[in-house]
Structures are given as C-alpha cells and as structure tokens.
C-alpha cells in the first residue's frame, strides 16, 4: 500500500516532465498526451513486478515515444490509404526522431503545460479536466470518478479540449509577457476550482472527489516552486493549506457540516496552519496585494484564533474592506457582512446584507438567506431567523447544507 502510494506520487510528478519532453521533441500535443497516459499505465502495472527502472523518467520517455511514433505511423498510413493526395504529410519528416534517450536538460515543463491546459479558448470544465490529466497525471477514469460523470463523458471532454487546443494553434511555449500574467490568473483559478471541488466534497461519501484537494495543493506547490516570487501563487498555496487545515473539524460524527464557530479547533491541522501562515506572512509585505493573499490572510486570522469569540474580527473586517477593493464579488460582500456583524452587531450586518441584495447578482441565492438567518438569530429574532433558514434550506442544491439549515431551523423551534 505504502509503496503503491509512493509509486503513484512518483508517476504523477514525472507525468508533466515526460509529456513536456515528448511535445518538445515531436510537436503533437494531442497524441503525445495519449502516449504519456499509456506509458504511465504501463509503468503502474510493470514497475511493481519488475522493480523501478534505473531512470524512471527515461523509461517513461522511451515507452511514450515508442507509443507515439507507432501511433503517428499508423495515422499517416491510414491517411495514405484514405487520401489519394497523401503526399501532403510526409510522415518521415514528422518522425525525424532523436535517439530514444531522455532529455538530458532535465527541464521542467510543468508551467508551460499548465499555461497550455488553461488556454482561454477552453471552458473551465475542460481546463480542469485537461490540467488534471496532462499535468496531474491522473487517468481519465480517476478524473471521471472525481467529477461524478461516466468515464466516456470525461474522455470526450478531454479529447474535445485537445482538439480545441489544436484548432486554436496553441504553441507549446510560455505566453509572452503581459499575456503570461493574465494566463497565470487562469491557472490559479483552475487550481482554486479543483481545490474547492475536493474541499466541499470532503464531508460526503465521494472519496475520489475529496482527493482533489491534495491534487490541487500538490500542483499549487509545483507552481510555487517554479515561481517563488509570485505573491499570488504563494497566497493561493497558503489559502489552500489554511482552509484544508480545518477539514478534520468541518464535519461532525454524523457527517453533518459543523460551522466554523462550532468547530473543535484541537482537530485543526497545526502543521498546515504553520506552513500557511508562514507563506502568507512572506507574501503580504512584498509588492501589490492580491485576492488570494487577502483570502489567505483572513483564513490565517481564523486559524490562529484560539476560539470563535477570541477571533480578531476587526482585522478580518479590515481585510474584507481591502478584498472588496482588490477583488470584489458578491460572495466576498456576503462574508464581509458577517464580519461586520461580529464587530458592530447583527443589525449593522443586516444593513450591509441589504446592500448585497440590491446588487442583484445574489437574488434568490441560498447563501444570502443563510447569512440573514444567522444574523437574525444573533439579533434574537427567532421567528424571522427560522423562516430565513427554511428558505435557504429550500434553495440550496447541496444535501449537507440542506440538512444543516433544516437543523438550525428546527433548533430554533425547540428552544422557543
């Protein structure tokens, strides 16, 4: 079991390097990606039996190259059969290969691959799927299980994403200057989405899905290693660690969601908190501050508070003020209202909440009703709070959230 996990780690770590080596040598991203998947599968079955090859990376590059050249040869043979004017694609020009030994430069193409998989021409769902396969080294079956769709559906999504990349003519290189910064934001957002997908599922029965948090953290670490001076990369990694640190306490013994204020803080992961705090403390003072750093800073204030009551809410309000300026969105405004309620009382929070609603984007959203319910409960208005909890419970599409909100409503009915 342990060796199996170590082997899996090794393969996932090597996946982007091997793919990078292939694409550099042969071009064909689409076919190279398939060939690398086959080589990874071959390694996963052969290495446990025969032992690790001397150079695992070299082994994978060699096997994947062979698969790829076989594939390209049979493709061009088929084209020749199908197309009388086959001379358009001189196959040997494509197959003018170097020797089958690994790229000695030991380049790390992870970043280039991430930028490619997060091409703006792809939908978020495709960016996520392709990133997990091409950079994360996950199999299509694993990604499908994580996203609760049939394998054929995920396979189709990935192959369409690759076709799209080809149609876009996406080159295998880092985007130029200003475009690179923009693309990096997409990459970070994709990793953030992968993390959230896993984190929110961690209370449920979908174990494969909750493993996505680990994968997101692993990829964020890789990006941080390659871009150690980018404060938003550091911020995102910190945010993931500081959020994931609370995971053991976010569900009760019955599997129900436990709100932050009621979590058993002794169950929080101290190592993750230490690492996250160190990262965010390193990122914040340098350069312009971005949304991930601010969200990480807020998470750090929560994580460092010995109890909900002892939380430095004034600092959290200040951070949300900043966040609303740097990266405003209705969800941020909603959390801001909660923080304000904690410092200036529930009525002040409810006033802010009305402003959030007036914005229009959150109309009918269950989170607005849930926050209103909490603030009304704080204000001692049990009847209105109960009605808001029930409205939120009807509107959410999450089973654990519905259970939690129904529970809060029921509790208010009992204590009256």
């Amino acid at each position: 079991m342990r060796t199996e996990a170590r082997l899996e780690d090794l393969l996932r770590q090597l996946a982007p390097q091997v793919l990078g080596a292939l694409v550099r040598r042969y071009g064909h991203f689409e076919a190279s990606e398939d060939a690398v998947q086959e080589a990874l599968l071959a390694a996963a079955t052969q290495w446990p039996e025969r032992g690790l090859p001397e150079s695992p990376r070299g082994w994978l590059v060699t096997v994947a190259s062979r698969r790829l050249t076989d594939q390209l040869r049979s493709d061009s043979a088929r084209r020749r059969r199908e197309d009388a004017t086959a001379a358009r694609v001189p196959p040997d020009a494509q197959l003018a290969l170097g020797p089958d030994e690994p790229d000695p430069a030991g380049r790390d193409d992870t970043l280039t691959l991430l930028f490619m998989c997060c091409h703006p021409g792809l939908s978020a769902a495709s960016q996520i799927a392709l990133t997990l396969r091409a950079v994360g080294g996950l199999t299509t079956a694993e990604i499908a299980r994580a996203f609760l769709v049939p394998e054929a559906t995920m396979a189709q999504r990935i192959s369409r994403a690759k076709q799209r990349l080809r149609a876009e003519g996406a080159p295998f290189e880092l985007p130029p200057g200003p475009e690179r910064a923009e693309r990096l934001r997409v990459v970070l957002h994709v990793l953030y989405l992968v993390f959230n997908e896993g984190y929110t599922a961690s209370s449920g029965p979908d174990l494969h899905r909750s493993e996505l948090t680990g994968e997101a953290i692993r990829l964020a670490r890789a990006v941080h290693r390659l871009l150690p001076d980018d404060d938003e990369v550091t911020g995102l990694l910190a945010l993931m660690l500081l959020t994931d640190a609370r995971r053991p306490a976010r569900t009760g013994p019955d599997g129900g969601l436990v709100p932050l204020a009621e979590q058993d803080r002794s169950r929080w992961n101290r190592d993750a908190i230490r690492e996250g705090v160190a990262l965010v403390s390193q990122a914040l003072p340098s350069g312009p501050v971005g949304p991930y750093q601010l969200q990480a800073a807020i998470a750090a204030v929560h994580d460092e508070a010995p109890s909900a009551e002892e939380t430095d809410w004034a600092q959290i309000v200040g951070l949300y003020d900043l966040l609303e300026r740097v990266g405003p969105n209705p969800m941020v405004a909603l959390n801001h209202a909660v923080a304000v309620a904690m410092t200036r009382g529930p009525r002040a929070g409810l006033d802010l909440l009305r402003a959030v609603e007036a914005d229009g984007r959150m109309v009918g959203h269950h989170r607005v009703d849930a926050v209103r319910a909490h603030l009304l409960e704080m204000a001692g208005d049990a009847d209105a709070a109960r009605a808001s909890y029930r409205r939120a419970a009807r509107r959410t599409t999450s089973l654990p959230e519905r259970r939690y909100l129904e529970g809060r409503a029921a509790r208010l009915a009992v204590t009256r």
């Binding site: 769902a125 054929a152 559906t153 189709q156 436990v258 999450s398 654990p400 939690y404």
Partner: protein, 120 residues
Amino acid sequence: MRYLLMIYMNPTVFESLSEEEQAAVMDAHDEFQKSIRESGERVGFAALADPANSKTVRVRDDVPAATDGPYLEAKEFLAGFYVVDCVTVERANELAAMIPDARLTAVEVRPVMDEAGMEM
C-alpha cells in the same frame, strides 16, 4: 453541476402529429443525444414505459399494497429523462430547449442535489 431534464409527454398531443412529425421527434432525440455525448455533458438518460405499465406501491400499517396506474393522474406524464453535467443553469436550459418535446409539451430542468457543501 448536474441537472435532471424531465421530459413531459401528452399522448393526445403526440398522437395528433403526422407520422413524419413523430419520426422527426425521434430523430431529434437521436440528434440531441449525439450532441450531448460529443460535448462531454451526458451523464445518463432513460426512456420510461407508458404509465399504463405503472404500479403504485403504498405501505400502510406495515402492509404493502400495489395498485395499477401512476401515483399522479394527469394529462401529462414523465416519459423519460436526461442527466447532464454542465456549468450553468443557463446551459442546462439551453440543452432542455434542444429536446424536441420542449416544442410539444415541456421539459422541466431540476438541479440534482450535491453531496458536497460549504460549512457556514
């Protein structure tokens, strides 16, 4: 996000169609299936037998009893469904509008509850 696209059918409406029109409805379903398969959005689907085949089961005082016919009597009934995985409800609505029955009767779009959730 996964959505259930529920196809409601009214036999009187369907029977009023010409043979060609009925065949066109079936073709449009094939076309729709192909389209969501290729877009990577299809999770599942089923066509249901006519409610004339339905049994409705009730347990009262621990005694189960099955009666013939559907639970709800209505002119329209659930004739089948698709489960799709797509990013927004707008996209789910767009997919529903591609189902031929949306022109004849209606297709109801409902989110499938998620096992994931945010603590508050």
